[in-house]
Every structure is written in C-alpha cells, then in structure tokens.
C-alpha cells in the first residue's frame, strides 16, 4: 500500500431504509490527512454516508475500504472501528461513568492498556480539549460544549487514524460552538484525517480541504470550501447556500 492510496475509498454505495433510498450511488475518496466537509439539507443522506464509514449503518450495495481493510466482511468491523473515531450530534457520553472513566473504558477493555497508561492518556487528552479539571465530574454536570469536547477526547483515546464528526455542533447553544470548533481545528492542523458533516462556515474556512454538497442521496457538487461556498456551480447548491448562509 502506497502512501498516496486514499485512506477511505467509497465506491458506488447504495442504502435504503425500507422504501426510502437514503444513498443512491455515492463514490468518494479521502486522502490521508485530508479534511472533508459534507453539507446538504436534512434527509440528503450525509449522516447516513458518514455512519456507513464505520458501519453503524450497513450499506446495501457497493464497497468501502478503510485503511486497506474492506468493510464488506463483517469480521473486519471491529478492526475498522478501532481505527475510526466518531463524534455524535447528541454526544452519547456514558452517563453512569465519570468523564475520566468515559475516556478510559474502551482503552482498557478494547486496547488492553494498563491502568497507568490509560489514566495518563486520558488526562493528557482532557488537557488537550481544555477541561482537565472535569475529570471526576459526571457528564450531566457539564455544559453541552464540554460534553462534546469529552466525546472528542473519548474518540481520540483509541488513537484513531480517521475522525468522523456527525453534526458535532448542531445540539449546542451558540456560545458553545466555538470551543468545540477550536478543538476540531487544532486536530485538523495536526494532520488528522477528518470527515465532518456540518454547516459551520468557521470550520470550513479554517480547516477544510474539500467541501461536498449532498442532496437526495447523491453528491451534487465537490470543490474547495472557498469555491463551493462563494462560487457554487450547481443550481441546487446555490439554492441550498442561499437558505443556510
């Protein structure tokens, strides 16, 4: 495998929920270290596409290869999932565990790290996301922005090669959005491969290499963020941007 080979290769995938076709033939390649942003109206299939990358959703047709591992074989799923971190819109922190335990649990039982290693990794990550003082708090005691930063730390604790973000700021109060974006931008600057479903222009300008507009389960337009947002080519993109921006 050469360094130039894409870390994510999605080829012509289809996905239906009952009679609703969520994804209708999407192909996408993401290079190592690339930050790709996916925008589009709700129901356009963007979240479904993201969730297919670590197989939280099973796709019906097509193929996805992540870091050389084909997702088609169910036996590979856990191998892929340890390489791909995901951050959810609703945080999904474990409410019965403290912040430190949230970050530590999977390291211990999946990565089989020692107690000391786990704790030092977790504390470093809490420093990195800027809330070391909250280690012993429970998720309910944190603000939305703090919870989302813990969720990012929890995903990073597994040393993923790819980070997926599913509308990470959509459930946040406006004043908390920036603290989460700052963490994401720092991560992008460190060279993390990221696929981000979000409409945050601030993040697009600061960190994204490529932006994609999806609608009706298909990729409509693909360009640099600057070009996509300022000089959209397709009517559908223009219409969407006129409503969002």
């Amino acid at each position: 495998m050469t360094a130039m080979e894409p870390i994510i290769q999605i080829k012509n995938i289809y996905k239906s929920f009952g009679s609703v076709e969520a994804i209708r033939g999407v192909s996408l390649s993401v290079q190592r270290g690339e930050v790709v942003m996916i925008i589009g109206p709700s129901g356009s299939g963007k979240s479904t596409l993201l969730r297919c990358i670590n197989r939280l959703e099973e796709y019906d047709q097509g193929s996805i290869v992540v870091d050389g591992i084909p997702l088609t074989n169910p036996a590979n799923i856990n191998a892929v999932r340890t390489e791909v971190g995901i951050v959810f819109q609703q945080f999904n922190l474990f409410p019965h565990l403290t912040v430190l335990e949230n970050i530590s649990l999977a390291q211990r039982i999946v990565r089989k790290r020692s107690k000391e290693d786990t704790e030092s990794v977790s504390r470093k990550l809490l420093d990195k996301v800027g809330i070391p003082e909250k280690a012993d708090a429970h998720p309910i005691q944190l603000s939305g922005g703090q919870q989302q930063r813990v969720a990012i730390a929890r995903a990073l604790a597994m040393n993923p090669k790819i980070m997926l973000f599913d509308e990470p700021t959509s459930a946040l109060d406006p004043e908390m959005i920036q603290e989460v974006l700052d963490v994401m931008i720092a991560l992008a600057k460190e060279g993390m491969t990221m696929v981000v479903v979000s409409h945050e222009m601030g993040f697009a300008r600061a960190a994204a290499d490529r932006a994609i507009l999806m609608d009706g389960g298909k990729i409509i337009e693909e360009a640099t963020p600057d070009n996509l947002f300022k000089h959209p080519q397709h009517e559908r993109t223009k219409l969407f941007l006129s409503k969002v921006l």
């Binding site: 670590n54 939280l56 856990n78 999932r81 340890t82 791909v84 971190g85 995901i86 959810f88 609703q90 999904n92 922190l93 474990f94 409410p95 019965h96 649990l105 999977a106 039982i109 999946v110 990565r111 429970h138 309910i140 969720a151 929890r154 995903a155 597994m158």
Partner: protein, 295 residues
C-alpha cells in the same frame, strides 16, 4: 428528592432570597434557617413509611407479649415456616434475576431461534396460573422423569423423587423469570440507541457494550419493577404450601386444624407477611435512592 427540595425552598419563603449562592441552596440542611420550619427539619426527611413498618412490628410484639395465648403459641408454632418462606423466596429471587436476564437478552436477540425460544417461554409461562405450574412441577414433572427413566432403563431417573422445596423453588423461578425477562427487556430498550452506537464505535463487542454500558444503566431503570417483583414473589410463595412445603402459610393451616382458632391464626399469619412485605418495600426504596443518578 427533587420535589421535596422545591417544597423546602417554597416553605422557606423569604429565606430563599438570602441563599443567593446556588451551591448552598442545593443542600437545604446546610441552612440553619430551614431547621425552624416545620416539616423541613432534616429528621422529617426520613421516609415516613418506616413508621408503618414499625407500627406493624410493634403490633406483633404487643400481641405476643400481652396476649401470649394464642399469639405466642402461634408464633412459636410457625417460626420454622417463616424461615422456609424467606429461604424459598430469596433463593428463587436470585435465580429469577439470573434466568430473567438470559430471557430478556433472548427476547432482544436477533437470532430467530433464540428469540423464538425466549418468546414462547415468556408467552406460555405468563398464560398459565402459577398454582397450576407449581402443581405440575411437584406432581407431574417427577412422573415424567420416571417415565423417561423406565423407557430408557436409567435407574437414577426411575427412582427419582421430587424434593418439595426444590420443586417449589423451580416452579417459582420458572414462572417469575418469565415476567423478569420482560422487565429486563423493557429496561434495556429504554437506554437510548446512541449509547450502544457510541460503545460499538469505540470498538467494544456487543457483549462488552452490554456489560459495561447498557446493563449498568438498565439496572437503575428497572430497580422499581424488580423490587415489586420481589414483593410479589414473597406473597406468591404462600402458594407453595399446597405442594408439601412447610412454609408460613402451611404451618398456619396446621396450627388452625389443631386448635380451631381461625381468626387469631390467620390474623397473625397476615401480620407476619405484612411485616416482611412492608420491610422489603422500604429496603427497595432505600436502594432506589442510593442508586439514583441524574441523567
């Protein structure tokens, strides 16, 4: 806890405005002002239902001390039955918790065979009266085993004799585990889907996610219905008296047929059950409070 706290603050009236520091207002006991308000003093927050438990206990003690004939005689006569009732209930309940978990996981399994078996088990058991089930396990089951032993010529099975308490525990467990399966199932289903997704996306297996993420949360959700099941089981354990188990109820019947004082006998037996059920109910609600966490 929450409503009680609001009442306290409401009662405190003007003192509430003085508690501008929010951290202080979280613990009403920290304010000396509150101690002067009737109903808000810390002692009043001990569960008043404990009063009922103690009243019933005192009633039993009073009857035994001041009217030893017949109440002391009844108590002495049925005392070994009390032990049998507690033993039968506790052993069955522990087994119910374990078997019910497997039943509940079976009901949620995607595997059609496991799911089908669990569903049939739950539906069949819930459709047959407990008394009939107990009679089956005690009278019919040994005959079935002996029949199999005879046809296969296995001596151990041919001479099989049912142990009353063993069969009673089996019967109670088999029946109650079906209901417990549904409680586990509902508890697990009440945990948001995102919890399982988050756990699986961190690379945990399905079993690890259940063990570390879903079940610890589900247990807190199902505590109240599980407590109710324990109390129901305690009461339904009186049914085992018909299958030769010398529990409290059977000992009461024996005492009555020997002494012909039904009113006193059954009042005493009822009071003894009441002590146990009320006491269990308090323990259950204490555990619930201990395990409470805000979501």
């Amino acid at each position: 806890m929450m409503p009680a706290r609001c009442d306290v603050q409401h009662l405190a009236g003007n003192s509430y405005t003085k508690m501008e520091n929010k951290n202080k207002s979280i613990d009403p006991t920290s304010s000396k002002l509150l101690e002067k308000i009737p109903g808000a003093e810390p002692s009043a927050r001990i569960d008043p239902w404990w009063g009922l438990v103690f009243t019933v206990i005192l009633l039993v003690i009073g009857l035994v001390i001041f009217k030893p004939d017949p109440y002391r005689r009844i108590l002495l006569f049925v005392q070994d039955g009390i032990g049998v009732t507690i033993k039968t209930t506790v052993i069955s309940f522990v087994l119910v918790m374990v078997l019910g978990l497997f039943g509940g996981l079976g009901r949620l399994a995607k595997n059609k065979l496991i799911n089908g078996a669990a569903t049939i088990y739950v539906e069949v058991v819930r459709g047959v009266p407990l008394l009939v089930q107990l009679l089956f396990w005690y009278f019919a089951f040994p005959s079935v085993v002996q029949g199999i032993g005879t046809s296969l010529n296995i001596n151990v099975l041919k001479t099989y004799v049912a142990d009353p308490i063993g069969m009673a525990v089996l019967g109670l467990t088999f029946c109650y585990a079906a209901y417990m399966s549904e409680i586990y199932r509902a508890g697990i289903m009440s945990i948001p889907k995102g919890q399982m997704e988050a756990a699986r996306s961190l690379g945990m297996s399905h079993i690890q996610a259940m063990r570390y993420i879903i079940l610890p949360q589900a247990v807190r959700v199902i505590l109240p219905p599980v407590g109710n099941e324990f109390i129901s089981l305690l009461k339904d354990s009186s049914l085992v008296s018909v299958v030769a188990v010398a529990d409290m109820t059977r000992r009461g019947r024996e005492f009555m047929s020997a002494n012909f004082i039904p009113v006193e006998t059954w009042m005493m037996i009822a009071l003894l059950y009441l002590v146990m059920t009320l006491f269990s109910a308090r323990i259950v609600s204490w555990i619930e409070k201990k395990a409470h966490f805000e979501r």
